[in-house]
């Protein structure tokens, strides 16, 4: 029983990490159709932001709380620069963006190595996040609970932004029909920039969050990028609710598979499930109905 609860929570927790990593991607990849291979490196930048902030504010609790908005800003600004300098020149050439952003990812990794050194750095978890609470005998780590909460807050914020603000309405208008939005007076340039800023900023926040459970190294991003794409693709391109369901489904499935087999085999089984699923439903869990004529 104890183990069952522990495992259930492990699945939810893994799902929340996947969701955080994929949320920003579901905006930039999903809404804008940009395959940003540097998304993982924006996460890494967020993680190193947490490290730098902790050098300045030595209290781990305060520094974590400062790191979250700071990580958002750093990720967002990197995204904005990438969009302004490179991506806006190649919006209708997905293959080119794929290669260009992969190159940018390698550059960012090397930059991190040069600035912070190749060894991973230590970001301390605040005292109030160390330890765990017991749920029917199963230990629920507080760091995991925190990440789950953070993922839900980010999700709520994003949904609110998209559904209830003029900015969100413009973003959705551009996604549904770019030309019509533009003729209706929506500045698609500005909308693209803001979408990219927010999506990349969310990657930065995800980066701050994963410093609590893993290592902060130049390779941090490569650990998450594949899973993040899987979540977005399985969830259905451009569908936030699809990404949410896919993230938690993949998280729970992986922990079930991993528990009943081994970590490596579990991952293989999960990938098989995704491949079979996409064979049956190539559009993902949900598909976007656009009014686009193009």
């Amino acid at each position: 029983m104890e183990l069952l609860i522990g495992q259930m929570f492990a699945g939810l927790s893994l799902g929340s990490v996947l969701l955080l990593a994929a949320l920003g991607l579901s905006l930039t990849f999903g809404q804008m159709g940009v395959i940003n291979m540097a998304h993982g490196e924006f996460m890494m930048a967020g993680a190193y932001t947490a490290f730098v902030v902790q050098q300045v504010i030595s209290d781990a609790g305060a520094s974590l709380l400062v790191s979250i908005p700071a990580g958002f800003l750093v990720g967002g600004v990197l995204g904005l620069v990438l969009e302004a300098v490179l991506l806006r020149r190649m919006y209708h050439r997905p293959l080119d963006t794929l290669l260009v952003t992969f190159g940018v990812a390698l550059i960012l990794q090397q930059a991190a190595r040069d600035i912070f050194g190749a060894p991973s750095v230590d970001v301390r978890a605040p005292v109030w996040l160390q330890g765990n609470i017991e749920l029917l005998g199963a230990p629920i780590p507080l760091t995991r609970l925190f990440i789950l909460g953070l993922a839900l807050v980010c999700l709520a914020g994003l949904v609110l932004l998209l559904k209830a603000t003029p900015l969100g309405r413009r973003i959705r208008a551009v996604v549904l029909n770019r030309d019509l939005a533009e003729t209706s007076g929506v500045s698609t340039r500005r909308s693209d920039q803001l979408t990219f800023f927010i999506g990349s900023g969310l990657a930065g926040v995800a980066g701050v969050a994963v410093t609590l459970i893993g290592s902060t190294s130049p390779y941090l991003g490569t650990n998450y990028i594949v899973d993040a794409f899987l979540v977005v693709v399985a969830g259905g391109i451009g569908q936030i609710k699809g990404a949410v369901i896919a993230a938690f489904a993949l998280g729970v499935l992986q922990s079930v598979f991993e528990y009943s087999t081994t970590a490596s085999i579990g991952k293989v089984l999960l990938l098989i499930v995704i491949v079979v699923f996409l064979q049956l439903r190539p559009q993902g869990i949900f598909s976007l109905k656009t009014r686009s004529l193009a």
């Binding site: 330890g131 994963v210 490569t222 693709v233 970590a263 490596s264 579990g266």
Partner: protein, 421 residues
Amino acid sequence: MRATVTKRAFLPLAAAAMATVLAGCGSQIADPASAGSTTGSATSCVNTSGSSVKVGFINSLSGTMAISESTVFDSLSLAAEEINASGGVLGKQLEVISEDGASEPTKFAERAGKLIQQDCTAAVFGGWTSSSRKAMLPVFEANDALLFYPVQYEGLESSKNIFYTGATTNQQIIPALDYLAEQGTKSLFLVGSDYVFPRTANKIIQAYAAAKGIKVLGEEYAPLGSTEFSTIVNKVRDSKADAVFNTLNGDSNVAFFRQYKSVGLTADSMPVVSVSIAEEEVPGVGLDNVQGQLTAWDYYQTLDTPANKKFVAAFKAKFGAGRVTSDPMEAAYTSLYLWKAMVEKAASFDVDKVQAAADGVSFEAPEGLVTVNGGNNHITKTPRIGKINADGLIDTVWSSPAAVEPDPFLATYDWAKDLAK
């Protein structure tokens, strides 16, 4: 309408393709037979007529392994500098040629070939991962050249062209098990990264446990670089084992120890013995997370020997007071001095003469006196169990009473009879 459909079908495909490319990056496997196949003649081109002689260092200075291998490069450089300052080898100054293995076994094989054939180095020092060593082995054998390999490894190998100055299994893993048995450990849980060293090490541990009546309650592998340990940690906690034997590599250790601690497991309630965490790795893993946990090595920076005090002082003077020294660094430092001693005993840089002279050559290393075993080209070492202290250094809590003869094929252990096959 048609165009939209095509585009939408394309995006997931492209993402999936890129994902495959990325996944492939993590697991490049060299084919030893084809690697460095530019070999040809085994005639040496080493030039010893001048006032200097060339030696090669081959370490990953970029890529995932750079974190570890650059430290080995530093200590090799220190040894070369010291040897040159004290008159060189047979009166010749060492001229170091350094190559970057870039964390890729194929690159190691190719660069080793260059060091031997183009640079005409008298001996090559370096390598870290077993896959890099296995990729280089055929190159050194085909060219009849010498490689000094400074890292603890899984054993079950011996080549007349490689000198192994790190621990083999009976100088690290078996003593660690002896220590645990001595402490009354009745059950173990094995956690490792999914590649050759942990799998071989765990085979040995299973055989040992079966023979000594220790129960192995679980054996779990995480993909290399994995940072998700919830499930493994849950399994470990649920097993209620007396101790955990950890053969995880690199950054996975950070995630493992963090998550281990977060479910309430401690060094007191369930100690973890690690074979890949040395002084260099402690800050990255986070001292908070590993303080009080155990390690198994043959050398620690805190060892109280005159040779070690000199080594640590010289290293800090050259590279900064904040730097630490670790087992593989010490083994690399020692390897250059052992080669020097072999050359001087042979009174020649010729590979066959050095090989013939190797047996019995010894050096007062920082870890204590080490002696080359000419039978298997490994060296005697003194196994030590350490405990990570509050400064991030490692204190010796147990030490083998005498240096242990290398036995890479575990031929002298009854319970290991079936392993070497």
